[in-house]
Symmetry: D2
Subunit: 270 residues, 4 copies
């Protein structure tokens, strides 16, 4: 199990969960989502890390929603962590964001497109925070060894998490290769399946990425069955109103039922 301050239920045999809205859209929605997920994960004894992006830096189109302001969004992330006494995670895109974000959250996440950017990984490592690196859609699980190494070269004690979000499959689709879970676990780090972005169908001519949210349970069950250490799920009280990535977020009221089913699969493989 990963060691993170404020992470609960670390004596539970369960997978851990990184979940929350795609973007921090406001204080109330963040606190409301966190409260609901804390209640569910306390009940199911699932170690939980609240996830929210404070800035969306790589949207397809220039005029997409990019955030409510860095300072405000980071302060909300901080408040969520303090209020519920849980760890939080957010993604950074350039090295000079690392120190700033590290003041607000417990885990810095490196986006898949950026997982080879040495300076970004090193800046994250220098904060002393845990680093969650998403596997590039163009990389094998094996080659993520080098990304983890870049962090450990700066901070040998760093907690590194590797997250799979699928591979490019033609121009308009992604496919998850479950062989990558044991491949990345062989480096001695926890491996997470991102059940949200694995279902993206990118490159739509409209510039709005599509998806197939009905398959979230399919992606998640397979991941747990093959031994994934954690899951990453974006969720929203009303995905159709979300300001980004609505196409693949899980409606918040479906989360508990999904997690219950996944806990049973987890028990079956232990």
């Amino acid at each position: 199990m990963i060691q993170l301050s404020k992470l609960r239920h670390t004596d539970s045999p369960n997978f851990f969960l990184m979940a929350g809205p795609c973007a921090i859209e406001g204080r109330d929605m963040a606190l409301q989502i966190a409260e609901r997920i804390v209640t569910i994960t306390d009940k199911l004894r699932i170690p939980y890390i609240f996830k929210g992006s404070y800035r969306k830096a790589n949207r397809t189109k220039a005029n997409s929603f990019t955030g409510i302001g860095d300072e405000l969004a980071l302060s909300i992330l901080n408040e969520v962590g303090t209020t519920f006494n849980i760890p939080t995670v957010t993604d950074i895109h350039e090295s000079d964001e690392a120190a700033m974000a590290a003041e607000a959250v417990d885990v810095l996440q490196i986006p898949a497109f950026l997982c080879r950017q040495t300076e970004l990984l090193e800046a994250a490592a220098r904060t002393g925070k845990a680093v969650n690196i998403k596997k590039g859609q163009f990389l094998s699980g094996e080659s993520m060894h080098f990304a983890a190494e870049k962090v450990h070269a700066i901070n040998p004690e760093a907690t590194v998490i590797l997250t799979d979000r699928g591979n490019s499959f033609g121009y308009g689709d992604l496919v998850v290769d479950y062989r990558n879970i044991p491949a990345m676990q062989s480096f001695g780090v926890p491996v997470v399946m991102d059940c949200t972005h694995s279902l993206q169908q990118p490159n739509q001519s409209s510039g709005v990425t599509g998806g197939k949210p009905a398959l979230i349970a399919t992606i998640a069950k397979a991941a747990i069955a093959v031994g994934a250490d954690g899951l990453f799920i974006e969720t929203h009280p009303d995905p159709s109103c979300a300001k980004s990535d609505g196409a693949n977020m899980l409606p918040l009221d479906q989360l508990e039922g999904l997690l219950e089913r996944l806990v049973r699969v987890r028990e079956a493989i232990l």
Copy 2:
């Protein structure tokens, strides 16, 4: 559950199993493998269909092993079915093989490369036997609807099974897309995961297809977790001595342990 004469344990909530050696190499080995698997599947209450190819028609190289003779191999398949009172399956490659093979086995299998060959599908359909169609490595699950339809157009009562064996992923690799399991189940047919051929690494310059048999359990657990109706596993007492596809066959003495773990995953999702 599929209905096949001689299929046992059809009242069990378990997945069914198509398993046996890649090729029928001789009478003794076929009977010995069948006996062992019957014992295991009776114990675990898994409906079991014995699998063996009587002819290998699409080996990479011309000088590969292609079989011990059609008549002999088919008579062995027939003997296996009679001796243990279990259904059997074998693959056919041209339409004129359908009638001949149908006299010996209960299920005719259409290789993935040939899943669009209308005449072959129709010839199989005309025998009245069940037809197991492997999904082409170049086809979406959705498009297998048309393959199933070609069989049902000839014989509306035909039992059709669809089997996924992975998708081409570059030249030297295959990747399993688990979204195809629910996609093909939506046609109202049972869907099987081929845990053996999904792990092939084709196009080796040597003309000998490689593989990663250590991942058989990974492929199988994910399939059961997402609700696959059946599994296809090639197994051999000594894969290193097998006359074809040794690179990916499961050692027979590992089968029971694997199935026990899979039965637990199955129970967790029901």
Copy 3:
């Protein structure tokens, strides 16, 4: 240059051309198309082989057009060859078609899906005719060595042609890898680019394969520039009325202009 009886302009430095309608829809259309292409290729000094399928055996859907009858279609192919004194090519799908088709045409073509079927390749080889093998959408150029070898093992004198028709790229698309042209030429055989089927966009949910015919010239120019020995182009006086593959056939009245431009590219690389 390949040696085929009746092949003209073999002293020309040009690429050769396999062209005609997708399917033989009738006697008049076949003769009319052949006459037009013979006139153009005589003028441009392009060695020409008339192409037409006598049977469509692997259509996506069972109720697609499959032909006007084998005997009639083959007799029309024979008449085209005799009338214009040109070689002809048609595709076969099962081994028992080889001898029959060989009576009518000069080149037997093996479809891409079937390029690993040993018996089919051997049956084609035994006719003594030239054999044009399409590269499977799932195979590297390098691995086509084994397909050519299967023919040469039966008939060491056989003229073997290898044709590239693109690689699977996700579920709904194909991509041509031009590295395969020199890779396959390294076996000492002529290599052809299929400019028609390389543009297919398969797996449409409708069961009707789409395409992008505006890109035929793009595919062809690149092939000639990298040194392809021949081109394969399906053409029809009115593709929108064609009974199969209309989505990618070149309108016949555009063929001359395209070939003129390609001859100039050919001259530039010699």
Copy 4:
């Protein structure tokens, strides 16, 4: 033709060339390479832009060569531009590099992995320099429209160049899809083929990217034949001694012969 100050031969019907070493390894080698290429391109009337990276920010492994120091490398790029009166191009990886690099070069290049990073594109746009955006290995040509738009939204007058460097094809290979050249030209911008990185074979377990430099001419000829506006070629007097990407650089003494052949292909398509 793109308009860039110091770009010569813009009245020539030729493609333009971005070429130079992968990384600026030192002053002498940079000047020596530039001099040789200027001589060749003046003779062949090819508009020429000198290319060199001042920092390698996304090497596979942490301990790879990353540069001789930003200030020194940029001053050498500046000196090359001044000495030979030619435009220069270098790549940037984070927004705060844009202004600094813009003082030394005429074109800012956005790496393929980073082509969706809105802030980076905007920072490049704000310098007023031309921006060369490499197409992500995971993106269709069509979707690069949004990348170009992000630059033009900041600076409507910006010269934008789009460069194709191939698509992910499985884990260990890239394939060039030549359909992307006309697709990207349809946005009204010049399109370049990167003949060096298109041949990479990434994800080697060693962490050292491989390649097939013998195919540089194949990639380049196809690109010119389909109408590419420019070529990008990394070249080095002795690739085996280069400090990065040696696996795919063209030996400098082969450049003139290659360009002569390409000029002939260009003439054939005009």
